[in-house]
Amino acid sequence: MSGLGSERSEGKQKTVTFVQAPAPEATAPRAGAGLFDPRLLVSSLPEAIGKLDPRRMVRSPVMFVVEIGAVFTTVLAITDPSTFSWWITVWLWLTVVFANLAEAVAEGRGRAQAATLRATKQETPARRLSGGVDAREEVVSSSDLTLGDLVVVEAGEVIPGDGDVVEGVASVDESAITGESAPVIRESGGDRSAVTGGTKVLSDRIVVKITAKPGESFVDRMIAMVEGAARQKTPNEIALNILLAGLTIVFLLAVVTLQPFAGYSGELQSMVVLVALLVCLIPTTIGALLSAIGIAGMDRLVQRNVLAMSGRAVEAAGDVTVLLLDKTGTITFGNRQAVELLPADGVEETALADAAQLASLADQTPEGRSVVVLAKKRYGLRERHTGELPGATFVEFTAQTRMSGVDVADGHQVRKGAAGAVLAWVREHGGRPHLAVDDVVDGVAAAGGTPLVVAELRSGAARILGVIHLADVVKNGMRDRFDELRAMGIRTVMVTGDNPVTARAIADQAGVDDFLAEAEPEDKMALIKREQAGGRLVAMTGDGTNDAPALAQADVGVAMNSGTSAAKEAGNMVDLDSDPTKLIEIVEIGKQLLITRGALTTFSIANDVAKYFAIIPAMFAAVYPQLDVLNIMRLATPQSAILSAVIFNALVIVALIPLALRGVRHRPLSAAAMLQRNALVYGLGGIVVPFIGIKLVDLVVSAIPGIG
C-alpha cells in the first residue's frame, strides 16, 4: 500500500480493530484439542464407510493398498475361515474406516461453518437498473444477476451479490461473513467500495455494480473452501504422497520377496500374515491422516477469519522469508499522537500544556484529541469543553493556514500548527521568535516525529510557547513479535509513505529489519520482485486498488476484506477482520501444517521398528526358534503378536486424529531448535510408543480364545 493509500484509511472504522495489541496470546483463540468432539467420530462414521468406494480410495495410495489387502483377507477368511484371519480381516477394514473417519471428521467441522455461510446465500430479490444508473428499476432474482449489472440497495435490504459501490455511501452489516457486529462504511470510489452478497445495508442507498458471476461469488468460494470441495492437493502434499507411495512399494517388495525366503527356510507364510505385515509396515498413520491435516489447516485459517483461495497459498505462507508490513495500522496505531511537550525558553511547561489543550479543544482529529489526552494524563489538566469558553471563536485548521486555534473573548489568542505557519503568525503580530525554536523543531523531525508549534497572543504581544511532539506510536508487543519472526528466519520490511528520516526512526523503534520509505506502489512491486529473484518468498497485506499488482505478485497476498474488489481478486487470501497483523498468524498456520505432516510421517516410519520386532519372530517362531530373542515385548503367541501389531496400527490412527486436526504446536523457534524438539518427540517417540502400545494390546488380545 502506498503511504497515500494508508493515510486514507486512517481514522475510520478499521482503526478500532487495530487498537488491540497484537500480542501473540491476545489474538483469536487457537483451535485447540478442546474443539475436537469425540461425538464427531460417531456421527461421521456413516460417511467414513461411504468413502470406502475404491474410486475415492485410490486418491490415497497408501490406504488404497490397505483396502486391497482387506478385500484379499476377506476372501481368504471366507474360503479358509479361522479366528485369526477373521480378526485380522476386521481390523484391516477398521484401519481403512479409521482413515476415512479422520477425513470425514475434518470435513464435518468445515461443513458446519459452510452451513452458516449458506444461510446468507438465500435468493434475494434484486432491484436491477437496466440501461445505466438513471434508468428504471426492475426486480429480478439475485441468481439472475450477471457481471456488470447495476443494482440499487437501500436501508434494510440485503445486497444481492458481490460488487463495488458505484454510487452513494451506506453503512453495511457484514456480520454474516465476518462475525463482526459493528457496521462498516461502504462508499463509492476509493478503497472501501467492495460489498459482499448476503450482507445487509443498514442505512442510506447505494448502487452496486455486480463483479462476480452467479455461483462464483465470495460466499460460494468460501463455502467450497471450508467444505473441502475445492481442495486440491498442495505441492508439498503431493511430494509427500510420492514419498509415501515410494515407501509403500519398498515395503511391498520386502514382503513379496519374503515369501520365497520363507519357503527356502521351510516355513511358507499364510497370505493373511503377509498382508498383515505389509499393512503394518506401509506408512498408514500418515497416509490415513494426510488429507485430514490439510483440511484442518484450512479450517484453522477460517477460524481466524482468513479465507485462503488455495491450499497452495497456505503452504507458501510457511515458506515466507520476507514480510512486507504497512507501517500505518500494522506496526503503528493508525495516527500520530502527542507524546511530549517541549516548552520554549522561559515558558512554564504547564503554561504550554494549557495553551496546547486550549488550541486543540475544537480539533476533533485524532492528533488534536491526543494533545488533550496528553495534557490531562501528564499535566493533570481537566478537559475543558467548548461551552466553558463563552465568546470564544475557534479557528479551524485549513490547508491554507495550516494551523488551528482559538480566540478567547478577552483578546487572548492561541495557535498551534505547522512551524512555518505559526512562526509567520508570531512575526505578523510583532513577536520575534527565538532561534532555539528552530532547533527544537528540527530535533523532533529528525527523531521521526511531527513538530507542532504553539504560540499565543496575549496583551498584544505574540510569543512562542513551545513545541508539541507528535509521533507515530508503535503498538505494544510489536518488537517481541518481530524478534520471534527473526528467530524463525523471517525478515520484516516496513513499508511507509514517510520520508526516510521518519521511517528510520519508526523502524528502529519497532525493531523491523528493514524499511521502504516514500513508497509508491511501483516501489513495493519492485521490492517484491527483487526479493523473489533472490529466491525468497514474500508475503504482504493490502487493501487498495493500487495494491492489486503487488498482491498478485507476492507469494502470499492477504487482501483486507474492507478493501476493494480488485485487491481481493489479486490476493490469494482475504482477511475478514481486515487486520494486517494477521499475516504473522497466517505464517504460523502455514508452518504448523507442514510440521504436522512431517511429524506424523516421521512417527509413522519410526513405528515400523517395533512392528518388525513383533511380527518377524512370530512369523518364523517354528522354524527359527532362536528369533524369539527378538520378541523383546514378550508377546503371548505368534497370532497375538501379529494381531496386536495390526490393532495398534489401526488404533494409533484414531488416537492421532485430534493431533492431526489441531496441528502440532508451533513455537517461534529457530529451525535447528524446532528440529531437535520434533525429532525427539516424533522420531524417538515413534520408536518407543509402539513397543508399549503393542504390548498393551497384546495383553488384551491374548485373552481371545484361538489367538492367545
Binding site: 505441492p235 511430494a239 527356510s265 522469508t321 524463525m488 529466491g535 521398528v609 524446532m674 528440529l675
Partner: protein
C-alpha cells in the same frame, strides 16, 4: 604387542593417513573438476575422439554420454573375453563362456568386479591389462564424474547444464587415478607385490610336491583395484593372496587406497559448494556409519561367539594369519563400506553377526563412505530424503543447500531408493525359490540364504566381494547378477543425474534462521539414522532369515 593393541594401532594409523591426505587430495580434486585449462595430452585426446571440451551438457546429454560409453565398454570387454584365445599373452587360456563373459563385462564396467571365476586360471595378461584394468580406471572415473555433476547440480542456478562428461572422465583418469595408481603401484612393488609378465612357474616345495606359481602384472592392477573401489583381484584369493597383499604394511596401504578417494571427495564437495561444513557433515555421517559397522564386525569376530570358534579360542577360519582378526575385520569393513569388494579374508567364514554386519554395510547402499563418486552421490540422495522428513518438521518446504525438494525431486529420490532393493530382493528371491539355483549353495539353512543375499547385495550395490560358499559361475547367477549390477549402477546414475538437472534449474533460497541447517551434528545424526532406517526396514525380514538366524543360533 597384544592383538588388541596392534588392531587399534592399525586403525589409528589408517585414520591418521586418511586425515593427512584429506585436504590435499580433496582440494586437488576440486581444482581438477573446476579448472578451465586443459592439459596438452587431454586436448590431443579430445581431438582424437572428436569431443568439444568446452561444450556444457544438459543432464540428459550427460546421461547419454555415460550410458553410451558404458554400453560400448561392455560390448568391447565382452568381445575381448570371448575371443581371449586369439589374443597375445593369453597363457593358453580359452575364451570365456557367454554367460561368464557377460557377467564379467558388466561387472567391471559397473565398477563392481564381481568375479565368478578365478583370475589366475581364467584371464590372460591381455584380458587383465587391456580389458579389466582399463575398466578399473574408466568405471572409477565415471563414478567420480557423476558425483561431480551432482555437485554442480547443487551449485549452479537456473541452468540445465551439468558440465561435460568427457572432460570430467578424462580429467578423473589423467589427473587423479593414473598418477596416484602409478606412485602407489611402485610403493606396493617395494612392499613385495609382484609385477612381471612371466609364465607360470613350476616349483618343488619343501615337502617335495610340485606347485604352479602364477606371476603377472599384479602391482599395476592392485593400486587401481583399490583406488577406484573396483576390487577385482588378479588372483582368486584377492588381497588375501601374498602376491597381492604380502604384509601388514601393504595391507594398511591397501586399506588407505580403498578409503582415500571416497573420503576426500567430501572435501571436494565442501569446496565446490563453497561451504566446507557441508562436506564435513557428509563425511561425519559416513564416518559414524563406518565406525559403528567396524565396532560391530570387530566385536563379533574378536569375541567369536559360536561353538567351534569358542572351542578353538579364536575365529581364524577364513582369515590370513598374516593379518590377524583385527586387520581382517578392518579390511572387511572398509571393503564393504566402500563398493570395493576386495577381500583379505573370506567373509563367509565370519560369525553370523560379523557376516551380517558386512552384508548390512552393502545394503546401506554403499555410502560409508561408498564407492568413488557413488558414495558421495548416494549420500546426497539420502541427505535429501533426510531433509525432506526433517524439513517438514521445521515448517518449511524442505530444502537442501537452498534447493527446494518438490514433487519432481522427491520422485527421483524415491525411485533411486527403490532401485537397489528391487535388484537385490527380486534377484535373491528367485535364487531362493528354485531348486536348480539352490544347488550352487555350499550350506543350507540360514547360512545358505546369507550366501544368496550376500551375492545380490554385492551385485546390486556394485561391491563385488563374494561371501564364498556360492558357486556363482552358473547361467542364472551370471545373468541375474549381471543385471543386478547394471540396474544398481546405471539406473541409479540416470536418476541422480536427472535429480542434479532438476536441482540446477532452481534459484536457491538464501539460508535464514528458519532454514534447516544441514551441517550441524543433529542433522548429521538424522542423516546417518535415515540411512540405517531405510536399509533396516527394507532388509530386516530377509536378514532375519539369513545372518540374524545364524547369529542367534
Amino acid at each position: 604387542m597384544s592383538a588388541t593393541a596392534a588392531g587399534l594401532l592399525q586403525i589409528a594409523l589408517l585414520l591418521l593417513l586418511l586425515a593427512a591426505l584429506y585436504k590435499p587430495l580433496g582440494d586437488h580434486m576440486a581444482r581438477v573438476y573446476t579448472s578451465t585449462r586443459h592439459l596438452a595430452v587431454e586436448r590431443a585426446f579430445y581431438r582424437v575422439v572428436r569431443v568439444d571440451p568446452e561444450a556444457d551438457q544438459r543432464w540428459s546429454t550427460y546421461v547419454l554420454s555415460v550410458l553410451g560409453l558404458s554400453a560400448a565398454s561392455v560390448l568391447f570387454l565382452y568381445a575381448m573375453l570371448r575371443l581371449q584365445d586369439h589374443l597375445p599373452m593369453s597363457l593358453g587360456l580359452t575364451g570365456l563362456a557367454p554367460d561368464l563373459a557377460w557377467n564379467t563385462a558388466t561387472s567391471f564396467v559397473a565398477n563392481t568386479n564381481w568375479q565368478s571365476y578365478a583370475g589366475e586360471s581364467t584371464m590372460g595378461f591381455t584380458s587383465q591389462m587391456a580389458g579389466l584394468a582399463v575398466q578399473n580406471f574408466v568405471s572409477g572415473a565415471v563414478g567420480m564424474a557423476v558425483a561431480v555433476a551432482v555437485i554442480r547440480g547443487l551449485t549452479r542456478r537456473g541452468t540445465d547444464r551439468l558440465g561435460n562428461f568427457w572432460v570430467d572422465l578424462t580429467r578423473g583418469i589423467i589427473r587423479i587415478l593414473l598418477p596416484i595408481s602409478l606412485v602407489l603401484a611402485l610403493v606396493l612393488v617395494a612392499g613385495g607385490v609382484i609385477q612381471n609378465l612371466s609364465d607360470t612357474r613350476e616349483v618343488t616345495t619343501l615337502g617335495g610336491a610340485v606347485q604352479s606359481i602364477v606371476g603377472g602384472p599384479v602391482a599395476s592392477q592392485e593400486a587401481i583395484k583399490l583406488l577406484g573401489t573396483n576390487g577385482g583381484g588378479f588372483f582368486n584369493a584377492n588381497s588375501a593372496h601374498p602376491f597381492e597383499n604380502p604384509n601388514a604394511l601393504t595391507n594398511l596401504l591397501e586399506n588407505v587406497l580403498i578409503l582415500v578417494i571416497p573420503v576426500a571427495l567430501t572435501r571436494t564437495y565442501g569446496v565446490m559448494v563453497k561451504d566446507k561444513r557441508q562436506g564435513y557433515a557428509v563425511l561425519t555421517a559416513m564416518a559414524v556409519l563406518w565406525g559403528a559397522a567396524l565396532v560391530a564386525v570387530t566385536a563379533a569376530e574378536v569375541n567369536h561367539p559360536g561353538t567351534v570358534p569358542q572351542a578353538v579360542g579364536s575365529s581364524f577360519e577364513g582369515k590370513e594369519v598374516r593379518f590377524d582378526v583385527w586387520a581382517s575385520a578392518l579390511f572387511a569393513n572398509s571393503t564393504t563400506g566402500t563398493s570395493t569388494g576386495a577381500v583379505n579374508s573370506m567373509h563367509a567364514s565370519y560369525t553370523g553377526a560379523g557376516g551380517g554386519a558386512v552384508m548390512l554395510n552393502m545394503m546401506l547402499g554403499e555410502v560409508s563412505p561408498g564407492g568413488v563418486g557413488s558414495g558421495l552421490y548416494g549420500m546426497v540422495v539420502l541427505a535429501i530424503l533426510a531433509v525432506f522428513l526433517a524439513g517438514l518438521m521445521v515448517g518449511r518446504t524442505p530444502e537442501y543447500l537452498g534447493r527446494k525438494i518438490g514433487r519432481h525431486e522427491i520422485s527421483l529420490v524415491a525411485l533411486s531408493l527403490l532401485t537397489m532393493p528391487f535388484a537385490l530382493l527380486i534377484g535373491a528371491a528367485i535364487a531362493a525359490s528354485s531348486d536348480s539355483t539352490r544347488a550352487s549353495l555350499l550350506n543350507d539353512g540360514p547360512q545358505g540364504l546369507s550366501e544368496i543375499l550376500y551375492a545380490f547385495a554385492s551385485g546390486a550395490n556394485n561391491n563385488g566381494s563374494a561371501f564364498a560358499g556360492l558357486s556363482a559361475d552358473v547361467p542364472y547367477y551370471n545373468t541375474a547378477l549381471g543385471l543386478a549390477m547394471l540396474i544398481g549402477r546405471f539406473t541409479t546414475i540416470v536418476l541422480v543425474l536427472a535429480l542434479a538437472g532438476a536441482l540446477a534449474r532452481q534459484t536457491p533460497t538464501p539460508a535464514t534462521a528458519g532454514t534447516l541447517p544441514t551441517h550441524r551434528p543433529l542433522f548429521v545424526g538424522l542423516h546417518a539414522v535415515t540411512v540405517v532406517i531405510v536399509a533396516g526396514l527394507t532388509f530386516f525380514p530377509a536378514l532375519a532369515l539369513g545372518p540374524i538366524a545364524v547369529a542367534l543360533a
